[in-house]
Symmetry: C2
Amino acid sequence: MDKGDERKKQFLQVALDVFIEKGYYGTSTREIARKAGVSSGLLFHYFSNKESIYLELIKIGVEEMKINTERAMEAPCKYLFQTMKNTFEQLENNPFFGKMFVFMDNVQHTAVNEKEIESLLESADICKQWIPIILEGQRRGEFREGNSHSLCVAIFGAIQGIAQEKVRIPNTPLPRIDWLMDMIVSRTQ
Amino acid sequence: MDKGDERKKQFLQVALDVFIEKGYYGTSTREIARKAGVSSGLLFHYFSNKESIYLELIKIGVEEMKINTERAMEAPCKYLFQTMKNTFEQLENNPFFGKMFVFMDNVQHTAVNEKEIESLLESADICKQWIPIILEGQRRGEFREGNSHSLCVAIFGAIQGIAQEKVRIPNTPLPRIDWLMDMIVSRTQ
DNA sequence: TTTAAAATTAAGCACATGCTCAATTTTATA
DNA sequence: TATAAAATTGAGCATGTGCTTAATTTTAAA
């Protein structure tokens, strides 16, 4: 176990907390260092600048949020159910997951002028990723008819909002997944 | 029309934009002043400090989010539907409403150590406000059975998440309200 | 037109910020 | 044990921050 890698990981964990609490611009490199219990100079030994810490966290988040499009296309309804179930389980059991969820949402609302960040966020747009899958589900009659983009917004907006609430107030009771499914599955099934 | 009041209103409008974009700590009083086209000294002629600008915006937001509990208790299902319809209409037509919606959500995730802010946010917890109304709806058989807090989280999480998406990408097509209602209305109706 | 009040500016203070860098300590290898 | 590499510190720079204050301009009432 490389000691340098451990430190870097520690910095990333601490930075995630501070970024969530104070936002990108409100987060000072000194505070990250202080909360990690080291001098601020050390932070810049591991990261070239503040932006690169932010960027590295975003990369981790994007990786975590990726969906398996192929498997999803095979069974849209089943896959959506499984994805929600997995998300809710992680929200209950893995604090890091919840934090990352909220962080990635904050990132989308914060303007940081950096081309690499912008392009990364493009690929992290969950709603866009899911539209073809929703469409396939509609074609099969599993999902209700109507504007598929709207359906996407409904279901992923809901997941986002619920996750936010869960992270903000950890003892929040998560809703049943079939309640959420009722929002988009076909009525005539 | 008082000139001073106009200026103050202008400051609040500009501040709302910057707070949303950069968060409380990332927002500088100089930037607010610059975007309003005046010197930064003038800002402190109208507001005693940065925190008080933030606080005043929160007060406006809390006022806007208030619900009519009495009317809601009379017809829970109808009132919820009407509330959502109204919210979506405002999101489509009134940019200020959408901004305020997102701002109030950000406020809840940002730690600003100020007793007045904390107590104001307590009263702005939409989820908590709605629990008794959901309960009443369940008693009448209008809403489905189950943990009423969970139901609250589901429906208001969804509204929050959808509103966020709408503000971030304004041409987002909003889902149909009856889709959202399907999440919580009784199946046997 | 005079004059008091209100609006506005610009300079500036004390402190926080991102980041650098030379110096020091710790670690691991030979 | 000697030594090179890696980890870590702490002072310091230029610039940005919240906020004050005296001076100036604009406004409006007498």
